[in-house]
């Protein structure tokens, strides 16, 4: 294992400190509970939108804290749900008179710890609601999930809710927006390699040089099947078919199209995938209104990608187009 690591046990805290130092004045850092939060939140006029999952999926979720996106994130260790106490402290810190919205990707560990924290926060009189994201069409139930998994489609829920919260939407309105985005977003991914959590020191699963895992989860958990490697276009065909048929997306739909890297795939390859995905979308009569190519929800250095389609309406389109500023930026 060759990684930029000092002490594997300090990997997550040192990453968080780095995020803080890169955004001083805009973000704050509470090391006791792994909390990264906006310097201008909580605010009494805004619902706080928060999320927290295992680390290793960056930029989700801790690097997506910023204006127009998340107000706070409380990550756990690499691929481990945040302990209940982190979740509870995050809710308490971000409490506002307008309430707190917790977004949760559908993984058992995340759900249980957040659910318990929410129960405790409610007992203290905090107005907090949660929403479960489950956009992955690959499998029903998996190593860490009951139902479908929450993967890269989560970006759109965060973006839409973040933008709406910024404009002053109330908690019920935000829940409706989250529900609508989640109901219209579908994803599926493929892994070309495994990945290695620093504290574990070895790959989380084995994948042969000529193999790929179709429908992989964001912790390397098995998807639909193990297959021999194929040309990029053939891989996109399978992902596109699975995703497009699921909703189903229909000719004339206005959509957002995302090709998400799983961490170890270079931008060049992601654009090779996007090319085919866009051609397929156009051929199916879909109108690509917005597109996203890059790393949005990763599994450390895993080579691989996922494809996400979101069906838009006027409201979601406007929310996606609203300005936002997060730790990850290229300008």
């Amino acid at each position: 294992m060759k990684k930029f690591v000092n002490d594997p046990a300090k990997f997550v805290p040192e990453m968080l400190e780095g995020i803080f130092l890169a955004n001083e004045g805009k973000l704050k850092y509470e090391p006791k509970y792994n909390l990264i939060y906006r310097a201008d939140r909580p605010s009494k006029n805004h619902v706080s939108v928060i999320q927290g999952s295992g680390s290793g999926h960056e930029p989700a979720h801790v690097m997506t804290v910023g204006s127009g996106m998340l107000d706070a994130a409380s990550p756990g260790n690499v691929f481990a749900a945040p302990p209940m106490e982190y979740c509870l402290e995050c809710i308490k810190l971000m409490n506002t008179p307008k309430g707190v919205l917790v977004l949760i990707n559908n993984y058992q560990g995340d759900r249980m710890n957040w659910d318990m924290a929410i129960e405790m926060a409610e007992a203290e009189g905090i107005n907090v609601k949660s929403f479960i994201i489950d956009d992955d069409v690959a499998v029903q139930n998996s190593s860490y999930t009951i139902g479908r998994r929450g993967v890269a489609g989560n970006f759109f829920v965060m973006k839409a809710c973040g933008a709406a919260a910024e404009k002053g939407a109330n908690l019920d309105q935000l829940l409706e927006i989250a529900k609508k985005v989640n109901a219209n977003v579908r994803s599926m991914g493929v892994a070309l390699t495994s990945c290695t959590p620093p504290a574990k020191g070895k790959p989380i699963f084995e994948l042969g040089d000529d193999e790929m895992e179709v429908g992989v989860g964001i912790h390397g958990e098995p998807g639909r099947r193990r297959d021999k490697m194929k040309p990029a276009d053939a891989i996109v065909d399978e992902l596109f078919d699975a995703v497009a048929k699921d909703l189903p997306f229909k000719s004339g739909d206005r959509v957002a199209l995302m090709v998400n890297g799983l961490g170890g795939t270079p931008p060049s390859e992601l654009y090779v995938l996007y090319r085919k995905a866009a051609l397929r979308a156009k051929a199916a009569g879909l109108n690509i209104v917005r597109n996203y190519v890059g790393n949005y929800c990763t599994s450390l250095e895993m080579a691989g990608a996922s494809l996400t389609l979101l069906k838009l309406d006027k409201e979601i389109e406007e929310l996606l187009a609203a300005p936002a500023e997060i730790a990850v930026r290229v300008f």
């Binding site: 260790n77 749900a81 209940m84 058992q108 710890n113 659910d115 318990m116 129960e119 190593s143 009951i146």
Partner: protein, 220 residues
Amino acid sequence: MKEITLADVETAVKSIATTALKNEQYFCELDSYAGDADFGVSLATGFRAIEQEWNELDRSSIGTFLLKISMVFSKNVGGCSGPIWGTGFMRAGALSKDRTTITLDDLDKMLTASIEGIQKRGGAQLGDKTLLDALVPIRDIVREHAGKPDVNARDVLQKATEVANEAIERTKGLVAKRGRQQFTGDRSIGTPDPGIVAIATMMNDLCTQFGVAKPTPSKN
């Protein structure tokens, strides 16, 4: 002995913690057949933290004590064991916040609340081969005796331990449907569920702790 005191609850929790620490390796071994072999470590991590903070725990009532236990446990244990066991203690504590003694009737209500909380948290039902398959029969024994005149809590402990032991054998042949074990499917058939064994082992040690004769061991 009709009423259960705060001191009894403290003794019971201490005993449960000792059982978890003593059996860390054994519970991991049981979890390795069909799970990911970390159950013993998770449980021991939580109860070790409770032992470390033992002297500082709030003891103003049974409820505050149990809520504190819940907090320390779930603070230190991530994954699924933290919220499951944490919720169990939390729900029981919420019902006994202003009490320094409880009756069997109260205990029935507290166990019921714990069971409902654990069900809600993990989504498991009776027969899914989880710790609920031990907890529900235990609660039923408490409920059955709660209304009887001249009932002795020690007899109830003995009978409850008996049903916990029986739960191990009864569920061995089932396929685990919740937790990590569900994904190994048939591999779980024929092996006891670590959560059920943990509850039964804790009950047997509670008998020793309170000087109650242990029920005849089941034939596993």
